[in-house]
């Protein structure tokens, strides 16, 4: 809405502003209050940089004003250093921007650019600001945990006054060509260009400058609320300075004491058409172009953690968390970049046929992707990964930012949540009813209504008079309770947490340096500043059992609202000029904020009393690169609608390939009441979320699975039990993710990087390396799905063992009535199950295992893994785990189990859990060989283990015409799961 405000007196403008606000209030409801969040043109630095890009790209003779001072360069121990000069005016004045290009042992290159004047503090801040003068340089401390060792083998292959070429990487097959003037860096692998920095000349580091007050041409009092409209007119020439010194949005003004300070860079992926990553966005896995046009977005992808109420789908809008890691893929090659910056960030994406070589135009022309990264403040700090496989990216990115924390096993079970279970009796009742209906679950959750008037660490004494009694009942079946604890602390007298937060000065401060006060659930609140080590230590003390009365060893925590959500703040979050520990402005650290809080809670829970040490469980809504080391995330407040079910799959896949696979969406949908069929399908999909939790808004009807009625309750129960029976495999995949940074549910491009037709598929996925290929039904009334088959391997239906008539690169239709989950088993794998349905994962601990072997097309071999430990302590760090590798070898006619890491069981001194595993003789019950040839039609096989030999009975079922593959079941194998064993079926 535009008002001719220049023509009006200030008073009238104010009135009109009020009216606008009011009409916004009564405007027709849209799903997301879109106008609550900025578009690029409403974010000063984004607008400036987009305009800069437009200008550069429209000018054929565009020259970047950045060049390296050749004489400033040096190269030592895998590190290239120099000074970039930025020419800032026609007089040729320059500012100095020190650049470091580090070549790391992992083959990753890192380019860091700082600004000398700010670095040295030779700038002046406005408004008596207490903020730091440097560009924010501590993101690394929060995010990077390793992989920074320099590649001493990297060598300067060529060097002159115009450029330097460095060869580096695993076999020196990587190459970085640093061009001095104009400045740019080109990264090659095996001689072919992969990634170019500043190739299009969009590098922009807004250097510090003093504010020069120009004579204001008859400004009105109402200027602040109307800057948007004004600047159009007041900008005859030169740069758009209107948003340099302050800017307003939604009635909040950002004082910007350091002036303009954005950093921007263009990154081109040469010959790459498919790009992925930079979660979290509610859109397809493959990122779209953002400069408008059919099927493309108008807005850049935004990374600015925010509490987005009822978010819309298929949008580049920001969500609750951000991981600025992007990957580009083409047939047989994968590369990536990691933009280490915690400030508000926008990423524009365009694709173009290569025009560099006119001869390449036409049939042979390849498409490249051009990205433009823009952050509001901080260093320019970018990591370049040259792959060449998706697994390499996962590994090297994982080395830098860490891998998924090894979760407690219960965390992989089913989580039953609702806003809110209304009393301790209610919780106990749900607990009983789940048992009564034989539905396994591990965790029940309490949203914020359990507290005494939204004061965390307290209980509502009317509704939760006996939290310990409740906790004990849950513990009776090995179950856990998760309570919500958010970073806003109610500002009220007589609440010790609030009093201490204030008296100990541990809260985030406002721009004046006083404790920041804003509104959240409890009303007036303060926010813990988890950047402050003292605040974290204090936070840890609050979780001690002696302090958090009513919490128990089976109580775990949920951190919500940690973007942070501030109801009355700009874009529902904190003012950017708030000040954190160390004098950093909130703008510098915003996207890290959620992670620091999540981290504080995580550390608080490792030990809540002397001598305790257990893996914590803390769910977060907000996250950043590195949050995977702490705990799971969920995709926030979705809706009970089919399209939200659909959207959850690419969102979870995107988290997976971005290093944070422990993720899930609210099963059933948070807002609204799902129809029974939607709820059922959602469970059938949800069992494949690494984090599997049902949740519902306070205004929704009750929907615990046993309330659905038949046939829905039975179908949902069978789905949940499928999840539980496969827990040994899921846990093994988490171990893999923990060690190697690998995704848990895997999109086609990841598993089959040479099959281009699968690159854009984001509605089907493999469950780790188990060979299980799932495609959940996400459309109403749909009774079959078309599954795209990436290879020539044989596929069996999970539930019937039918051989599915597949062919490589084609889709196969699989029947999926409501009670059927489309799930295939790829030939060539061995995966592990526990078939006995129990009430919780804890009660499955001592059950025998079932191995499922899927014979491959060529019948030759199949293999798989099992990792198991006590599921809760850190003893696995001391070798207290079982890690088996199973191989079926058709030539040798054996199935063997050996230690996957070549350890000898006898060398491991068994701790409590290992001893019990041995004493209980937890072993292999049966082995199902799907697709077994007729040679398996025999009475028995020989089993050798623990120095003994015995026979096990075989039951062979020949193939059925028109479908079911032959299968053999080796019954009562009887070998211990932790022992080496060999089955001979000669």
């Amino acid at each position: 809405m535009l008002f001719p405000s220049q023509l009006l007196s200030g008073r009238w403008t104010a009135v009109l502003g009020l009216l606008t606000a009011f009409s916004a209030l009564i405007a027709p409801a849209v799903s997301v209050k879109e106008h609550d969040f900025k578009k690029c043109h409403q974010s000063g630095f984004c607008k400036r940089n987009r305009a800069f890009a437009d200008q550069a790209l429209a000018t054929s003779s565009w020259q970047t004003p950045y060049h390296i001072l050749p004489e400033s360069r040096s190269f030592q121990d895998g590190q290239f250093q120099a000074v970039i000069l930025k020419t800032i005016n026609d007089q040729g004045e320059t500012v100095r921007l020190p650049i470091t290009v580090s070549f790391l042992k992992s083959g990753t290159a890192r380019v860091t650019v700082d600004e000398e004047k700010r670095q040295k503090g030779e700038i002046e801040l406005r408004h008596d600001s207490k903020a730091r003068k440097e560009r924010y340089n501590e993101a690394e401390q929060w995010v990077v945990v390793g992989g920074l060792d320099l590649d001493k083998e990297a060598k300067l292959a060529f060097e002159d006054k115009t450029q330097a070429t460095v060869k580096y990487g695993p076999s020196s097959n990587f190459e970085a060509i640093i061009k001095f003037a104009p400045f740019g860096i080109e990264f090659k692998r095996d001689g072919a260009t992969q990634i170019k920095l500043n190739d299009r000349g969009l590098l922009n580091m807004e250097h510090w400058r003093p504010k020069i007050d120009k004579p204001e041409p008859e400004k009105k009092e109402a200027e602040e609320t109307t800057t948007e409209e004004k600047k159009e007119e007041e900008q005859p020439k030169g740069e758009d300075e209107s948003t340099w010194w302050d800017e307003s949005f939604g009635g909040n003004t950002d004082s910007k004491p350091r002036g303009p300070e954005s950093v921007a860079l263009d990154i081109s992926f040469v010959d790459y058409e498919h790009i992925f990553g930079i979660p979290s966005h509610a859109g397809p896995l493959a990122l779209k172009e953002t400069r408008g046009g059919e099927g493309k977005y108008e807005e850049p992808y935004r990374l600015y953690n925010a509490d987005v109420f009822e978010y819309i789908l298929d949008s580049p809008m920001t969500l609750y968390g951000a991981i600025p890691f992007m990957q580009a893929h083409r047939k047989g090659s994968s590369v990536g970049v990691f933009w280490l910056n915690a400030a508000e960030t926008w990423v524009d994406i365009t694709k173009a046929k290569d025009s560099k070589n006119p001869l390449a135009l036409g049939i042979g022309a390849k498409t490249s992707t051009h990205t433009h990264w823009v952050s509001e403040s901080g260093l320019l700090d970018v990591f370049v990964f040259l792959g060449p496989t998706p697994q390499d990216l996962a590994k090297t990115y994982g080395e830098l930012t860490g891998t998924t924390a090894m979760p407690q096993e219960f965390a992989l079970g089913y989580h039953q949540c609702r806003w809110n279970y209304v009393s301790d009796e209610d919780v106990k009742d749900v607990d009983r009813k789940m048992d009564k209906h034989h539905i396994p679950y591990d965790v029940i959750w309490l949203d914020l209504e359990y507290t005494d008037e939204k004061k965390y660490f307290t209980w509502d004494s009317h509704t939760f008079p006996d939290p310990i009694g409740m906790g004990k009942q849950l513990d009776g079946h090995g179950r856990k309770l998760v309570t919500i604890v958010d970073p806003h602390i109610k500002n009220v007298d007589g609440y010790s947490v609030s009093t201490e937060l204030k008296s100990k000065e541990l809260a985030t401060k406002n721009k004046e340096g006083n404790i920041f006060e804003g509104w959240c659930w409890p009303g007036s609140s303060h926010w813990i500043d988890a950047f402050n080590p003292a605040a974290r230590a204090w936070w840890a003390s609050l979780f001690q059992y002696s302090h958090y009365k009513g919490s128990m060893e089976n109580t775990w925590i949920w951190n919500d609202m940690n973007e942070p959500s501030v109801f009355n703040g700009p874009e529902t979050t904190m003012p950017k000029d708030n000040i954190h520990h160390g004098g950093w402005e909130h703008r510098d650290v915003h996207n890290l904020n959620g992670m620091t809080f999540h981290n504080a809670t995580h550390h608080a829970l490792i030990s809540r009393k002397q001598g305790e040490s257990r893996r914590p469980f803390v769910l977060t809504r907000s996250f950043f690169a590195g949050s995977q080391r702490i705990g799971p995330m969920w995709t926030g407040d979705n809706q009970a609608a089919w399209d939200h079910l659909q959207a959850s799959i690419p969102m979870v896949l995107s988290q997976g390939i971005s290093g944070m696979p422990f993720s899930g969406a609210d099963v059933g949908g948070f807002f609204g009441n799902p129809e029974k069929d939607l709820q059922t399908r959602w469970y059938q999909a949800g069992i494949f979320y690494p984090f599997f939790r049902a949740h519902a808004h306070i205004d929704t009807r009750r929907r615990e699975p046993y309330l659905a009625g038949e046939p829905y309750t039975s179908i949902i129960t069978a789905a949940i039990r499928l999840r539980y029976s496969l827990l040994p495999s899921w846990y093994t995949l988490f171990r893999k993710a923990h060690l190697e940074g690998t995704p848990i549910t895997r999109p086609m491009f990841y598993t089959h990087p040479t099959e281009e037709a699968g690159f854009d598929l984001d509605d089907q996925f493999f469950v780790g390396n188990t060979g299980l290929l799932a495609k959940p039904v996400t459309e109403q009334g749909k009774e079959s799905v078309d599954i795209w088959i990436p290879d020539d391997e044989v596929y069996y239906d999970y539930f019937t063992y039918n051989t599915v008539p597949t062919s490589k690169g084609k889709k196969v239709t699989v029947d999926a009535p409501l009670d059927k989950i489309p799930l295939l088993m790829q030939g060539g794998h061995i995966f592990v199950r526990r078939d006995i349905p129990r009430r919780s994962s804890a009660l499955m601990k001592w059950d025998d295992y079932t191995l499922v072997v899927t014979l491959p097309k060529d019948g030759k071999s199949a293999e798989g893994e099992l990792y198991v430990d006590d599921g809760e302590s850190f003893d696995y760090e001391k070798g207290q785990y079982i890690h088996r590798r199973f191989v079926l070898d058709s030539t040798a006619k054996t199935i063997t189990s050996v230690d996957a890491e070549g350890r000898d069981e006898k060398d491991i001194k068994p701790g409590d859990w290992m001893k019990k595993m041995q004493e209980c003789e937890v072993g292999v019950d049966k082995i199902i060989v799907v697709g077994a040839p007729a040679s398996w039609n025999k009475k028995e096989v020989t089993v050798e283990s623990d120095g003994k030999t015995w026979t096990a009975e075989v039951e062979y079922t020949p193939a059925e015409k028109g479908g079911r593959a032959a299968f053999a079941v080796i019954k009562k194998v009887g070998a211990r799961i932790g022992a080496d064993w060999k089955i001979s079926f000669a």
């Binding site: 009813k433 109801f567 929704t700 069978a718 029976s725 006995i836 059950d847 049966k926």
Partner: protein, 561 residues
Amino acid sequence: MRRTDALLLVSGIAYSSFVAAESLPRGVGPEFAKFYGSKATFTCIGNPSIVLKSSQINDNSCDCPDGSDEPGTAACSYLDPLSPEQPLPGSLTGTTNTTNALPGFWCANEGHIGTYVPFMYVNDGVCDYELCCDGSEEFAHVGGVKCENRCAAVGKEWRRLEEERKQSKERSAKRRRTLVKEARELRRRVEVMIANLQEELKRLELKKGELQKKFEEAERSERGKVVKGEGQGGKLGVLLGLAKNRVSELRDTLDKVLDQRDDLQDKVDQLEDILKKLQDEYNPNFNDEGVKAAVKSWENYAAEQASGKGPELADADIMEILKEDSETSGINWAEFQEEGASDADIVYNLEAYLPPFARDYLHEKLNLLRVWLIENGILADNPTSSGESRLVTAAREALEAAKNELSSKTSTLEEEQRDLEKDYGPDDIFRALKGKCVSTDSGEYEYELCWMDRTTQKSKKGHGNTNMGNFVRIDREMADDEERADGKGLGKGQRMVLRYDNGQGCWNGPNRRTDVWLACAETEEVWRVREAEKCVYKMEVGTPAACEDVHEPGVKTKDEL
């Protein structure tokens, strides 16, 4: 797909002499003992073609497609429609989506009552004492768990409680009988009342007829007098003129008042629209207490408006009055003017000429006019010619009174007749509780149940009372709760549910409603109230009125699990 709950609770004593327990494989219930007799082999119960070595019984590996080889372990517990389906040749369905031939793991519970425990509870490391007090289902001691035999204590306690329950049931039954007696008496009273009313109505009908006749006679004779009355034409003419003007004035004023009302109504509508939009579109997650309070007040206001619509003057009626008087509407002034003479009595009885809807409305106005006329000396007080007309008035009033009495008695009769037909539950029992209320303290609220009337939430913080629903009907539903030691719970089985619907409109939701679940108890008592989801309340209430199976005290009908 529906799971048939085959678990039975059978008295252990009945089978104690059946077989020697030691000779049976673990977990075999008495009625299945016959299948486990042979020493050498075992035949799957449901698949006689499958013969196993007896060593395969309870070897913790499932061999029979009906699960019968594992009566004492959890190994076959996945043979269940609730588990993911897998092919299983030999089972009835050819898959694991089948039913186990055995109902569960037999837990003998010596000293208490033997029972079947679901197979999936066997050897999971948890002592399920509430089912298996002898701890035998954890024989493998997985993870080091050891479940002691608690049957002696559990059995003793159970028998004590059972005795208590029995006694309590007897006391409840007694109270129920009293209630039934009361209800019967109340019903009888209603019946008597109805009979009396019917009698009285007959009498009233007669009386009305007589009065009607009297009135008509009086009127006829009076009308003659009026027509023949001495002429006071001149003065009456003036009066007529004045009255006509006054009526016009009144009509104009009414017209303006109406316009003003419409204006105000428009404004109210606008404001209500704004508030409604605020209610619909505010963001409830932005926990602004101010906005919430405003929306809440608005909702209460709206709810009141919806329920408490006062008698409203229909616009059509007003328009009728506003019409210019003419031959066909209002007062036909011309008629009086033409006759040249009129009578003050006519003015007194002006209203008699009006259409009935206008009569009541104008009655008051004209009375005022009459008073004004008298006070201003225009109309003589106590006019001489009114002696006879008073007779008519009296006759009419007597008739009206008779009519009123008749109609009020008729409606009382109808009401009582309806009441008699109303469902007051079995034996009419809630008749005895009608008009009584019980309440309970629950946190910041007190909840009140008024039998056959309404449920109410009373705030202790002074936010006023909230109607949680008005009684609609009595239903029956299956309760499925744990038995409580104190007996204050719904337990299992069919229970009466009193539906209370359409209570006060709810914050961001529908109208409140309450399901009042009843279970047998010695006294009326609200045990607990829960708002499991927004605006839907569940009250659990004990009352002797719900003791329906009291004639069979002591019989345990619950089926565990």
